[in-house]
Assembly symmetry: none
Homo-oligomer: 201 residues x 4
């Protein structure tokens, strides 16, 4: 099983897709940049679309896996769960920008049948975020008047990390995560229990 070659192909394709977009990337480019012949590439993957699907699937698997792991260690506390998701998301976006941007941007390039599976997973994740925020509202620890918009804002902000963050900059991932966690809690208007509440204005 020459999984090394497969990984090389996937990796190269991911970079090309991320840089130029699926539509503008030629499979010849991928072969060339992988240092292999066109036919060799086709020996491992049956086509361009399959390559995209594999990349998106892998990207989603990894991302969702890290979300699950984070949640598993977070307990029942909505705030803790939100923090866990934000941390997992920001970390993933920062550490895997190509995986992230393709997953987010190239959905339109998926053929209908693959798109359906993709959308189902996204919908599941959306439900997860929404459920946590709702739980926080129910428990009174989140006080945002617009939970749906808050959710969208938190996700958009986390996802955007993939587009600007550079790991060789002055800001470390851990610090980045801390800031985004703080921002997310601000957005949902987190008011921890056991703290004296200020009266409503």
């Amino acid at each position: 099983m020459s999984s090394t070659t497969q990984k090389l192909i996937i990796e190269t394709a991911r970079q090309e897709f991320a840089e130029r977009g699926y539509g503008a990337t030629s499979i010849r480019d991928i072969a060339r940049r992988s240092g292999m012949s066109l036919s060799a590439l086709y020996h491992y993957y049956p086509g361009k679309q399959e390559l995209l699907r594999a990349i998106i699937d892998e990207g989603m698997d990894e991302y969702f896996h890290s979300c699950e792991e984070a949640l598993a260690g977070a307990g029942d506390d909505p705030a803790g769960q939100l923090v866990a998701l934000v941390e997992a998301t920001v970390r993933f976006r920062a550490e895997h920008p190509s995986k992230s941007s393709i997953t987010i941007t190239e959905q339109r390039s998926l053929e209908p049948e693959h798109l359906a599976a993709y959308e189902a997973r996204i919908a599941g994740a959306t439900q997860q975020w929404a459920g946590i925020i709702q739980a926080g509202l129910d428990e009174g620890v989140f006080t945002t008047p617009h939970p749906e918009d808050a959710r969208r804002a938190v996700i958009a902000m986390c996802n955007a990390v993939a587009q600007w963050y550079r790991p060789d900059g002055e800001l470390g991932v851990d610090d980045l995560v801390e800031r985004y966690v703080s921002l997310a809690l601000t957005i949902v208007e987190y008011r921890p229990r056991g703290v004296v509440r200020r009266p409503a204005r």
Copy 2:
């Protein structure tokens, strides 16, 4: 000057680029969908790249123009200015999703010389947001400890509107704007002057 035809071309190209991406759109598709011959299209635009440039330029002109207008009516107050920018941005993203998504997504498809101009304008806009937030901090009405991240969060959240908002849904644009203004102020941790502060926790 048959500017009607030009507008039709631009409009069609914009939709195709938005739906499939620049790289995946063929100039024949655009001609076909415009109901005109390939040569006619070339009579009005010298090439595909020029079409993209025109679309992005127009999109940016319109967007920045509405930002300027909003700011012009906002006075010196940083909060008011931020509100103005958020309102202009959300409104534009909601009302012109194709213009928005192309401007945001297809920068990579611009050839280097055009890209430079694009990036300069974006940088200018970033400065504008940053300046306003900084002014708010200086005046003490914004209290976010992470102004740069707050700025990115606000912009990301506003931009994302282009991807999900549907004008025929139940939420009107005005309501949408109100919510996003509120969210933005939350993100920058707006504490209006003249209001009794709660003590720091």
Copy 3:
């Protein structure tokens, strides 16, 4: 309307398809042999399959047209009608061997939707032959005990002409036709009216 070019393409493609078969003919070969560029060919025909369809359609149009014409001049007499069809068929197979062999052989290369139309026309023609033979039986001028097999035999024998007849040989088309007419009447066991019958053996 550059119908000259179109005709050249069709003619070339017909020869190639007839010589090598649809599957073994490359569209490059056709372009090369037509003395035009690959793209020029695609300017006139949208693809290989369409080329085949046009060729088969044209071949069938011409053949069926000549059958109709022959029948139109043949009156109500079944024997005369059969003679007319045999003459038209043999003449067409002899004079247009490429058109004939493609129409007969390359049905399998038609895509399902085109195939349906083809089969419908063939079925109609079969009905025509069958109807004439049945009429002859009803009138007592044809006495074959196996009309369906007789029909198949006559058609097969006529069609085969396309495969072996060479117009530059010693046998002229008119003589050829005469022989096949005679053979066909033998096959249906033609016994003209008004002639004293020999008693059954």
Copy 4:
């Protein structure tokens, strides 16, 4: 010698060639449909052309063998010999339609050197039919005025069986043979000896 595998390959290739034609069949299709690897297939056959040659050879061997056998049991009587050949041919076409159609249709796909052998065998068979018909003429039992065309007609009609006959239909092979024997005798205008002749009209 794993002749089972060889037979499987040949059988599969025959079906594919018969369905799509040699030119349109890929050797990968054959391997896939045989349930074996490409390399395994190449282990048994050195190439596509060799496969075709083997199939055609086998088909001709079998067909000619059954012709020889039929003739061997037919004695010196030209009518009996013709009947024997028609029976052998119709039976073979009906029972082995793939073998038949490939042998008939795919001669053009044979490379020149193989083609020569093929044509020699065909020529031999033609001679055989012609010889029998001539003998019948010489003996006065066949009275067709066009022996060559009669021969072609009989062969064409028999060969065509491969294209339409379905063994699961209502007509059994034995009945089919009987009809075609009768038709063939009609075509050569068989007049058995010892029967009182009607006077020429």
